[in-house]
């Protein structure tokens, strides 16, 4: 399991490769990998967005991400979970978050990856502050995602 909160630009593919090296000895047992990458848009609520500052609650954020990953490993049969989340100043097209899961079967990989992402959005303490042509503003709510039943 890899859980990271990083304050500089990261490459999701590098993070996936790094996780794969942890899985070398059991690679032949893994039949499915699922990856989600969230990136910053240059628009929101009808406005152009130049950049964004991501604040977090150091200590609680990492704890919550670990709890989410551990819970996923108890719910699904997973060989590995990686979560990387960016903080600090971010620009459009840069990655914000990576969630990656590895399992023997695709249903476990797909379902766990999506569930971890939804849990992260709703329970991990991060906040976005956007810079637009009119100044800065806190993002009030995340866009609607999926429920567990979708």
């Amino acid at each position: 399991m890899i859980i990271k909160v990083v304050d500089n630009l990261f490459d999701p593919l590098d993070e996936i490769r790094a996780s794969e090296t942890e899985l070398v000895t059991r690679r032949s047992k893994i039949g499915a990998s699922s990856f989600f990458v969230g990136t910053m848009r240059d628009f929101n609520e009808g406005d152009s967005v130049q950049s964004m500052f991501l604040e977090h609650y150091s200590g609680m954020t990492e704890k919550r991400l670990e709890e989410i990953a551990v819970l996923a490993k108890t719910k699904w049969s997973l060989d590995w979970v990686t979560i990387v989340h960016r903080i600090g100043q971010i620009h459009p097209a840069e990655p914000i978050v990576l969630v990656a899961t590895w399992s023997a079967h695709r249903a476990q990989a797909f379902d766990s990856c999506r569930s971890i992402m939804e849990q992260l959005k709703s329970t991990a303490p991060f906040w976005k502050k956007e810079s637009t042509n009119d100044g800065t503003r806190w993002v009030k709510n995340n866009t609607a995602g999926y429920s567990e039943n979708d």
Binding site: L54, E55, Y57, G59, A124, P125, F126, W127, W138, N142
Partner: protein, 77 residues
């Protein structure tokens, strides 16, 4: 007793500080802490609370040495 009070994101902007220490007698709830530390500001609906990095409820009681955090709805990911 003494606790640390922390404010994040828009709530930090609203109260004009990110953290403070608070001395108090027994029986203080999460909501009591907000009223003592931010008497001029109504707590926005949808606000969240955490005691020692665990989500808590408005009526939960604080104890000596606790860290209580107030923050708005989450927008990560």
């Amino acid at each position: 007793m003494s606790i640390k009070v922390r404010f994040f994101a828009s709530l930090s902007d609203m109260v004009g500080k990110s953290e403070m220490d608070l001395e108090f007698a027994e029986g203080l709830t999460v909501l009591d802490v907000w009223e003592k530390t931010s008497p001029d500001d109504l707590l926005p609906s949808g606000s969240l609370f955490a005691i020692n990095h665990n989500y808590s409820e408005p009526e939960d009681l604080l104890k000596d040495g606790d860290e209580i955090a107030f923050f708005p709805p989450l927008t990560g990911g």
